[in-house]
């Protein structure tokens, strides 16, 4: 009895330690970002940083400008575009695998999808340059296809394996009895899928999409290679863009240490951190709200 209690306490303590460690790490990262970016804001007015779309830190004849708005919008466009492509296709494919495909197809297809998740982002970026880019260029009659659309497509491709695989798990774990209840009321398989199975699996599907996108958005390499690297306010998906992550990746290697430019890059990192934090929190709230309704 006593031994049991000790063990419980030990395990409890370990978990607590883990949790605290994560919190400390996050707080640490946040602190470093804040500390390193503060000097930037001594030079750069916050208004310019957030609301100007001119990013020109290395200007020699004019005053350097540090506006991240164009990058912010680009990041938003590429991410939302990727979601818009990946979610319908991913959930559709998951529904196909869980409901339509016969056992043999499923047993072959699922591991293949999961292997796709392991393709390095550089390879996907390369495909974006040699395959997707020319295709976009041909379809829309552009000089080149390195633009926001290309980035969105590639990110969607990267997010798909996770979305498909986890959504399929979520759909498969919907109790068979729900499906039978629906069929017994004269619903077709399609109606059962749309009106019962997907709603019942929705929290899992949302989680799958979040994880898939989380993975894709972190993939700087792909968007860096495929979006054309142009920091100006994009007017459409066919414009070349450069996301915030790409800017950090490209410029951090070359920037002189402890300059305003250097600090400004950390400032971008801080903005990214805050955005990610709020996006995660928002999706968490949505998820919880939804689960409450479902229960």
């Amino acid at each position: 009895m006593a031994r049991h209690a000790h063990k419980e306490k030990l395990i409890h303590g370990l978990f607590l330690l883990n949790g605290l460690l994560v919190v400390f790490l996050l707080a640490g990262i946040f602190a470093v970002l804040v500390k390193t970016s503060i000097p930037a804001f001594r030079e750069i007015p916050l208004g310019q940083f957030l609301f100007s779309s001119v990013w020109n830190p290395t200007a020699t004849f004019t005053k350097p400008s540090y506006g991240i708005l164009a990058m912010l919008v680009s990041t938003f466009m590429v991410s939302v575009g990727a979601l818009a492509i990946a979610i319908p296709i991913g959930v559709g494919a998951a529904a196909y695998l869980s409901d339509v495909a016969n056992r043999h197809v499923r047993e072959i297809a699922k591991p293949i999808v999961e292997i796709l998740a392991g393709i390095p982002s550089v390879v996907i970026g390369f495909l974006g340059i040699v395959l997707v880019g020319p295709m976009i260029a041909r379809i829309f009659g552009l000089p080149n296809g390195l633009n926001a659309l290309n980035g969105a497509i590639l990110l969607a491709v990267m997010a798909l394996p996770t979305i498909v695989s986890l959504s399929e798990d979520a759909l498969k774990s919907v109790p068979r009895s729900f499906q039978e209840a629906s069929l017994a009321l004269g619903a077709t398989h399609w109606q059962t899928l749309v009106k019962v199975k997907i709603p019942a699996a929705l929290s899992g599907i949302i989680a799958a999409c979040m994880l898939g996108m989380g993975r894709a958005v972190g993939e700087t390499m792909t968007v860096l290679m495929a979006t054309g690297c142009s920091i100006k306010m994009p007017a459409s998906f066919l414009d070349s863009v450069q996301t915030m992550t790409a800017t950090i990746a490209i410029e951090l290697g070359e920037v002189p240490y402890n300059t305003t430019h250097y600090y400004a890059l950390f400032g971008i990192g801080l903005v990214l951190f805050i955005i990610t934090f709020f996006v995660n929190m928002a999706s968490d709230i949505i998820l919880h709200k939804y689960q409450r309704v479902m229960k």
Binding site: S177, F178, A181, S182, A184, L185, G186, A200, V293, K295
Partner: protein, 252 residues
């Protein structure tokens, strides 16, 4: 049998290689309650689920023989299975409400049938809930999730859901197994009421209940139909020794 709603003949059912229904031949009359009794695992649920082709969803299962509903084989080619299931409603052995609101559970069958009229749906939902003896308990909780209801309420909700699309036949697999005596009584009264409009087939483990609610009783054992007759005969002077042993509780 005249007035037979369903004629089952030489019906066999297999899960993979195991044959769980063996040459079942039975006629089920219209507007009567037919009870099905028998020991656990004898194939009662399987038989019930064969009547609305609910077993179709089980991989590797196979049906043989014929089930005629109003003179047409439900296992025939180009049968509209969804249409069949609208005609042959089912209440499952384990209650299985959707993770939706009480209201939406009952409205589901109407909505998938393409009915949009709000007032029609509201009225039908209320009537179905009343018919299932649940209305007074849930009328203020229609927006609550069905999972918040008690087990017995969930079972009656499933009955209401099946009634809402006005089937012709109602298959009930132990509808009272999770209910207290009062609710059971309500369901039994409901069944008496429903048989004016519907043909009812009910599986039950409760001998008294079978004796009370059903007009005819079929006794199944090990996948075979041992005896089928008017309920009073089954319970007072069955012609088979097996039936008598089962009724009197000599084995279970």
């Amino acid at each position: 049998m005249k007035n037979a709603k369903i004629n089952v003949s030489k019906f066999n059912f297999y899960y993979g290689d195991s044959r769980v229904l063996k040459d079942i031949t039975i006629d089920i009359p219209e507007n009567r309650v037919t009870g099905i009794i028998g020991p656990s695992g004898c194939g009662k649920s399987t038989f019930l689920r064969s009547l609305n082709r609910m077993n179709d969803v089980i991989l590797g299962s196979r049906a043989e023989g014929s089930v005629m509903l109003d003179g047409r084989d439900i296992y025939g080619r180009d049968v509209d299975v969804a249409g069949l299931r609208r005609k042959v409603g089912m209440v499952f052995q384990k209650s299985n409400p959707f993770p939706k609101s009480v209201f939406e559970n009952v409205a589901y069958g109407l909505r998938i049938d393409g009915i949009k009229d709000k007032y029609f749906i509201e009225e039908r939902v209320e009537r179905s809930l009343r018919d299932a003896a649940l209305w007074s308990e849930v009328k203020d909780r229609l927006r609550d999730n069905a999972f918040e209801l008690s087990g017995g309420q969930q079972q009656r909700l499933c009955i209401a859901r099946a009634l809402a699309i006005e089937p012709e036949i109602l298959l009930m697999d132990e509808p009272a197994s999770a209910l207290d005596p009062t609710a059971t009584l309500k369901i039994e009264e409901l069944i008496q009421e429903l048989k004016k409009k519907y043909t009812i087939i009910i599986v039950t483990h409760n001998m008294q209940q079978a004796a009370r609610v059903s007009d005819l009783t079929a006794f199944f054992m090990l996948g075979e139909l041992v005896e089928y007759d008017i309920t009073s005969i089954i319970f007072t002077k069955p012609s088979k020794k097996l039936t008598e042993d089962y009724i009197t509780g000599r084995f279970g």
